[in-house]
């Protein structure tokens, strides 16, 4: 994170704000709600409070503006610059200007007003841009479902370096951006995808292309804005060019960027008993067309042709895969199966039916 040089900050913690005008692209009540939630992002981690004023001059004046709006920083029309804000201070200090020509929404279409406002209010409170790609104060826009939004730890550290911690008994913490070579890195799920390998963690995915040394960090929402974060299992059906994602008792089937119609479905549709509440990991064996689902200490085998679970399952993982413990994530590549348990990775040879190698979870990132 970066505090604004000169460390401008508000001298009081109880600040005022006012919405000067509204965009015709959203219901007024939705704009009010977006503003309220965006302010709450910062008040929930600091001693700051925000009171709404209907008239009079407020500390933070929020408005929608068009092109040259006489602040020496004209907007540029749709896309490009979405909004800007001014550091704490008198008059224009603290004010937020949103580019009226953007497509403002309360969901994943166009630009989500809540996300952009929360970012701009960071500037109004004294923060500059962060170079942590997962931070709210990162300069470029990326969609996050407002209902899933958690202020990243980088932003919490930044704003608390200016105003101190919140008065709440429990100090809130936030998600930390995964780093490919963090030795403690664990994964929620992993899948191959058209020759690449995608490692999922929280809102993020690390994308590893065989021809590139570096893994690329992106938000899951970059490819699939309607998928939730925290994907718990994922596998690729190469023959059908489909990826199946699992979270809790639901699953989505995706081809390219598109979620196929009719999804999400409940996992019981695949043949799981109602006692199963979530899938920990999954992989598809390209040679046999069988998919393996790992749940706690057991696993099921699913026939992709018949679209049903094979008889004689579930079986104990330890009986057929050895001592790999509970499986966080799994994928198959070049005939081997890779199982991940915490920061440990096991390479399994399905022909020899045994573990042939044990590595760090980050072995794919050329650390």
């Amino acid at each position: 994170y970066m505090a604004t040089p000169g460390n401008p900050k508000w001298k009081r913690n109880n600040l005022t704000y006012r919405i000067l005008n509204y965009t015709p692209k959203m219901r007024r009540a939705d704009v009010d709600e977006a503003v309220r939630r965006a302010l709450n992002v910062w008040s929930s981690v600091t001693p700051l409070t925000f009171q709404k004023l209907e008239d009079k001059e407020a500390d933070i004046m929020i408005s929608f503006a068009y092109r040259d709006h006489r602040d020496n920083s004209p907007f540029d029309g749709p896309n490009g610059q979405l909004a800007h804000a001014f550091q704490p201070g008198e008059d224009i200090g603290g004010d937020v200007h949103m580019d009226e020509e953007e497509t403002w929404t309360k969901d994943g279409r166009g630009y989500n007003l809540f996300i952009v406002l929360a970012h701009e209010l960071g500037h109004s409170l004294g923060l500059s841009h962060s170079n942590d790609p997962g931070a709210l104060m990162y300069p470029t826009y990326s969609y996050i479902d407002p209902d899933e939004f958690l202020l990243p730890q980088d932003d919490i550290n930044g704003i608390q370096s200016i105003y101190g911690q919140s008065n709440a008994p429990m100090q809130p913490t936030g998600p930390i951006t995964p780093e490919a070579c963090d030795p403690n890195l664990t994964f929620d799920s992993i899948t191959t995808l058209r020759g690449e390998i995608f490692f999922f963690k929280g809102r993020y995915m690390l994308r590893k292309h065989p021809a590139r040394t570096e893994a690329e960090l992106n938000f899951i929402s970059l490819f699939w804005p309607r998928l939730p974060s925290g994907i718990q299992a994922a596998y690729e059906n190469i023959e059908r060019d489909e990826i199946t994602f699992f979270k809790e008792d639901k699953y989505w089937v995706v081809r390219g960027y598109d979620i196929l119609p009719g999804y999400p479905k409940r996992i019981y549709h695949l043949g799981f008993p109602k006692t199963v509440k979530r899938v920990n990991a999954a992989y598809n064996d390209e040679t046999t067309g069988k998919t393996y689902f790992f749940v706690a200490d057991r696993y099921w085998r699913y026939d992709e042709e018949k679209k049903s679970m094979d008889h004689g399952y579930p079986r104990k993982i330890v009986s057929d895969f050895g001592n790999i413990g509970r499986v966080d994530a799994a994928f198959q590549k070049d005939g081997y199966v890779y199982f991940f348990h915490g920061t440990t990775q096991f390479q399994f040879d399905p022909h020899a039916k045994r573990i042939v190698r044990k590595m760090k979870s980050t072995s794919w990132f050329n650390c």
Partner: protein, 81 residues
């Protein structure tokens, strides 16, 4: 002679890069690219932008750099004036 398409593209790309660096990296409008002494200010600012975004610091408007510049973003600068 009509400008060859790629030269025209190149000109447009250079203008786009200049405009981005002026907006967000405090590149002076009157920067003199032919100053003998020292590095070309545009190249220096381009390296600053690439370093901020964790891109390979080439000083050239390569594909990844242009992709990052085209992303919708906040209008506040990335460096402090």
């Amino acid at each position: 002679f009509p400008v060859a398409p790629e030269a025209e593209d190149e000109e447009k790309t250079l203008q786009f890069v200049e405009s981005y660096l002026q907006s967000f990296y405090d590149l002076r409008k009157d920067h003199h690219p032919h100053i003998r002494s020292g590095e070309n200010p545009l190249t220096a600012k381009l390296k600053e932008m690439q370093s901020f975004f964790g891109l390979e610091v080439t000083g050239k408007p390569d594909l990844e750099t242009l992709e990052m510049m085209k992303k919708p973003r906040c209008g506040v600068t990335d460096v402090q004036k």
